[in-house]
């Protein structure tokens, strides 16, 4: 605790020293980058000035950089090998980054002593982490200033970044510093660099800082970028675009000669939409969803602190860069052949915008704790989309087929091949046998909705607001989230997190049987309900008994025992019993067995009718071909 307080103290001091005044983020890793795009050679040539603030009491003897493009350097890289994507790129389509100069403020060239460190798996073919030992260590609370020169071959797009035809998307494109975690921060027991290799799942964890980026590229290209455009000037056949953004954890840009753009302003934020001419009709769908999402998060968490947000709607040949989130720039996917009721574009834009809060503002470590990033985002995606399109039709609403967002995510999880494949706490690269998205995205969203059910939506909102307030521009971990839940709810919820986060338990409560017997002497009815806990997960549940005269009785069960019987004497006959009648326990895997009506449902004959008629029509459909 002492180390944590000390860290926070130092952190505030250092921020004010570095930036002379109040800033919204600690501004630890700051970059001024000049980059030149060669569209013929598909290369980038960059030089960057880095100002790094040591906020710890440690003496820093080395710096660690992510060279993300080296994930595409050969098919033996950890990214391509473990992501099942070896053989995807041909030799000319591989990508790489080479740092050929790194000079400190004393003009000492340090690149000679640099080396690659495959920290996670020891794979020597993986060159995605570069370590540069320093000639002059950075002292506690000191500042390091460096000049770096690098060259990169842009990979052909296969995921997130690269080029295809004349569309370029530059994500994770420059040598980027890892995060130095002083003792007491997250799980660090001593000062350490947190700089993982680039894996196929999970990509974010970096420090806040300011970016000033100048791109030089052919004059016919249009740039979509993080931040705001400061200047644009022509130099011969080329144009230099200069963008700047403050207090973010990354910088991303995209360019194409075909981009058309449209701007709107919402709540003082300049929304810049970049698309291809043939799909500009999606603009309204994006803007409408974005406006709603922005308002929702503004009300439920807090304000979006940046003046701009760029939206890139990638063309079909660039879709593998679509559906991505970067600070102040998000990308989506839209397909002209899908009916309007299939809301891929809307869902993605809402999802990616929510990431501005979970990962960008609350800068969790996606590589180590993907649920804190993707899971919380998916939870809010459900809340927002289902609020925008009420009546369970947020994901699909076509010809009477309606699917809501939260229910879609729930089904994705329960429909996955193994719902016990891994606990939520697994690191993103450790999902070797699959389950990354069903666990990190879907399961988290389901248990967060269950937590909302248990605590009530007002309390949940209070928790999330506090979480945002306390942890924006910082790097929280699981314990920080759990601590806030416990603190604000006023209850120790470890019993819940132990089950949903740390373990792989299944939740399934069921009403097995219910009956009612009349006592002829008193005229009352003795009614009983037998409930079962079919899964391993133990959650307190409510059981509602409904009687013939319309009265109801709500019982509570701690949900511990494998089964339990409720009995009562009432003036009316029991009609039905329902466990968790308000569907608070969204993680229950089967809602069908949650209720029991003493009389069989009359609807069965309607279903039979429907099955019969549809089969009759289908049988006669042969008529069209014979």
């Amino acid at each position: 605790m002492i180390t944590r307080v000390a860290t926070i103290l130092l952190f505030c001091l250092s921020s004010s020293c570095l930036l002379k005044g109040q800033t919204i983020s600690p501004r630890i890793a700051n970059y001024k980058i000049q980059v030149e795009l060669d569209v013929d050679q598909k290369t980038l040539k960059g030089s960057q000035k880095i100002i790094w603030q040591n906020i710890s009491t440690d003496t820093i003897k080395e710096l660690r950089f992510h060279l993300y493009y080296n994930a595409f350097k050969n098919d033996q890289s950890t990214f391509l090998k473990n992501g099942g994507r070896d053989g995807f790129l041909s030799n000319s389509e591989f990508g790489w980054t080479e740092v050929f100069s790194f000079i400190d403020s004393d003009d000492t060239q340090l690149v000679g002593n640099s080396y690659y460190d495959p920290v996670d798996d020891g794979n020597v073919k993986d060159q995605t982490v570069l370590v540069i030992p320093l000639a002059s260590p950075i002292m506690p609370l000191g500042l390091g200033e460096f000049e770096m020169e690098w060259k990169a071959k842009i990979p052909k797009i296969m995921v997130r970044t690269g080029y295809n035809k004349d569309f370029y998307f530059f994500a994770q494109w420059f040598p980027k510093l890892g995060v130095y975690e002083p003792a007491g921060m997250r799980y660090a027991t001593k000062g350490q660099w947190n700089c993982h290799q680039y894996h196929s799942s999970g990509e974010y964890y970096s420090d806040f800082g300011n970016y000033n980026v100048s791109m030089t590229l052919p004059r016919n290209f249009i740039v979509a970028s993080s931040g705001d455009l400061l200047s644009k000037r022509d130099e011969g056949e080329m144009t230099v675009w200069n963008f700047s953004v403050e207090d973010v954890i990354d910088f991303t840009w995209s360019c194409s000669p075909h981009f058309v753009s449209e701007q709107r302003v919402h709540n003082g934020v300049k929304l810049k939409y970049y698309s291809y001419p043939y799909k500009t009709h999606f603009a309204d769908r994006y803007f409408n969803t974005l406006s709603f999402t922005m308002d929702y998060l503004n009300d439920h968490l807090g304000p979006y602190p940046y003046p701009t947000l760029s939206i890139v709607d990638a063309p079909l040949h660039g879709i593998f860069c679509g559906g991505m989130e970067y600070p102040t720039l998000i990308s989506s996917i839209s397909f002209c052949f899908l009916p309007k009721g299939v809301r891929v574009a809307e869902t993605l834009i809402a999802h990616e915008y929510i990431h501005q809060y979970f990962m960008q503002l609350i800068a969790t470590n996606e590589t180590e704790e993907p649920w804190m990033d993707e899971g919380i985002t998916t939870y809010y995606e459900g809340r927002i989309m289902d609020a925008l399109y009420e009546g369970n039709r947020a994901s699909i609403d076509v010809l009477g087929f309606k699917v809501g967002n939260a229910e879609f995510n729930r089904t994705e999880f329960f429909g996955s091949s193994n719902i016990k494949i891994a606990p939520n706490t697994r690191k993103s690269w450790e999902f070797e046998d699959g389950g990354y998205s069903s666990i990190s995205y879907n399961k988290t969203a389901i248990w967060l909705k269950t937590l909302e059910g248990l605590l009530g939506i007002e309390k949940m909102d209070e928790i999330m607001k506090e979480y945002f307030l306390r942890w924006k521009f910082k790097h929280p971990c699981k314990n920080d989230f759990v601590d806030i839940v416990n603190e604000i709810s006023g209850t120790d919820m470890h019993w819940f997190f132990d089950q949903v986060l740390e373990d792989v338990l299944v939740c399934d409560y069921a009403v097995d049987y219910a009956w009612s017997v009349e006592n002829e002497e008193t005229g009352t009815y003795y009614s009983s309900v037998i409930v079962h806990r079919l899964g391993e997960m133990k959650i307190p549940v409510e059981v509602r008994m409904s009687f013939e005269d319309g009265s109801q009785r709500l019982e509570e069960w701690d949900g511990e025992a494998p089964s339990f019987r409720f009995s009562c004497n009432e003036n009316s006959k029991l009609v039905s019993a329902e466990i968790d009648p308000d569907r608070k326990i969204y993680i229950d895997k089967n809602f069908i067995n949650n209720s029991y009506s003493i009389k069989k449902s009359k609807s069965i004959k309607h279903y039979f009718n429907r099955f019969l008629m549809n089969t009759q029509q289908a049988l006669e459909a042969f008529n069209f071909i014979i």
Binding site: F335, K402, F591, I592, S597, N623, F624, I626
Partner: protein, 286 residues
Amino acid sequence: MGKVMQAFLKGFSTVLNSKRIWFFQYAMNLLFALFIAYPLSKLLSKVAGNSLTIDQAIGNFNYTIINDFLQNYGLGIEAIKSQSVIVFIIYFCLLVFFNAGIIHVAQRFPGAYKFRDFLAGGAEYFWRFLRLSIYFLIIYLLLIFLAFKIVTIEGLSPFKLENELGLISRARIVIVILLILFFILNAISDIIKVFITRSRDTYITRSIVMGMSFFKKHFLKFVSLALLQLGLLLLITGSYLIFRKFSNGSPNWFFLVFLIGQFFIMFRIGLRIWRLSSVYQLILRV
């Protein structure tokens, strides 16, 4: 056009004259449908008959409940699925048999016929009709394959495609062409069926060639007749769908929904008899 109308109306008289055949086919359709619908509703009743969710899901598509059912009780569905495949294959053969019987009986119209003539006709021409159906099935599949190839001529890889617009416009054109081709092939196949029943050949090749050249010669007449039949089918189907939409979810409408559903299937079977008999009548007239 007069001949087309005459044949169309005569075809209808044949339908009225073949009530037993009509009803028999309806009964078989109902029976075969029961082989699938009954176990399915039995399973539903067993696993969810006492659940309150079953009432919540009636009348509208409930994704959560459907998936909970499939994910938790899917094994029962699997067994019904394999049974359904067998039912559909047998019914396919039965339809081939019925069509042969219908044309056989239509040739006796307006004279009297016995129900066993229908069965005898079905038996006599079954294998030839089955072969014809399989040939046409292969042609349909080849056309679908070809259509797919044309639509995806630039490939399906998003890496290679400039955008999806070409794909969409090609798909639109190809689907229209495919529907027209299916419509024409269906009309030709009906003519060939009549030629098969008039030939003593074991092989159907000659009937196919004759049927095709006959269609070519009287293209407009046969297309007009097929259009009349298609128009009628679309009209009644449209009305039925509107009724279903209107009545959807209302439990009080159970018997009406059931009744109208059965009338609709009877209409479709009647239309099949009508179609084949009027084609026969038109062949007689041109």
